[in-house]
């Protein structure tokens, strides 16, 4: 179980690299979205490891909030011109 957790955290850091280095704003938004979904998986593994179910509450709330955040970012991108 610890191995899985470690691999997922490595994946999250790969996404973080994209958020930090992404050449355009949508790239960063994609990275943030991906991190949100990965954290849900991390919460699931935490839930198995500790055997406590409130981690799954965290997962559900996180999934919904990440979805709202992604929609807000997308709306923001639509409303604004992008020139580089």
């Amino acid at each position: 179980m610890h191995t899985f957790l470690l691999l997922l955290i490595i994946g999250t850091f790969l996404c973080l690299y994209r958020v930090a280095m992404g050449p355009t704003p949508p790239d960063r938004a994609v990275g943030i979205d991906t991190i949100g979904v990965m954290v849900v998986g991390i919460c699931g593994i935490f839930g198995i490891m500790t055997g406590q179910d409130f981690y799954l509450n965290v997962a559900i709330a996180w999934a919904l909030l990440a979805f709202l955040g992604t929609l807000a970012l997308a709306k923001y991108l639509e409303g604004r011109g992008f020139d580089e």
């Binding site: 997922l8 996404c15 994609v30 998986g41 179910d53 997962a59 559900i60």
Partner: protein, 110 residues
């Protein structure tokens, strides 16, 4: 015993998909391709992990919550990635130079 093996198999496949999605996020050339690899692989990977949680904990509070979380993720992630792609295209992010065709730009002029 049998149960435990199934849990390990599900979770390891899920973690593998997640990692491949993250690698795709790094390697692929433009926003749209990154959306393809990243969000989809990570969505399926996370759903497999949550399915593993369901198998591990069975018909209890934790299993049901994991199932609900998986359904939420499956329901919301395509909507989110569709909105992101549309926003990126309207904001004018260009496609990768190796792209073959862009019918959307031809038809709508955006």
């Amino acid at each position: 015993m049998n149960n435990g093996v199934a849990v390990y198999v599900l979770i390891s496949i899920g973690v593998a998909f997640d990692l491949v999605g993250a690698i795709g996020l790094i390697r692929l050339p433009d926003v749209y391709n990154r959306l393809q690899a990243a969000t989809k692989c990570v969505t399926l990977g996370t759903c497999l992990i949550l399915l593993g949680v369901v198998v591990a904990s069975g018909w209890s509070a934790m299993g049901i919550k994991a199932l609900l979380a998986a359904v939420f993720v499956l329901w919301t992630s395509p909507t989110g990635s569709h909105a992101l792609a549309r926003g990126a295209h309207i904001a004018g992010v260009p496609l990768w130079a190796g792209s073959v065709v862009d019918k959307y730009k031809e038809d709508t002029g955006r």
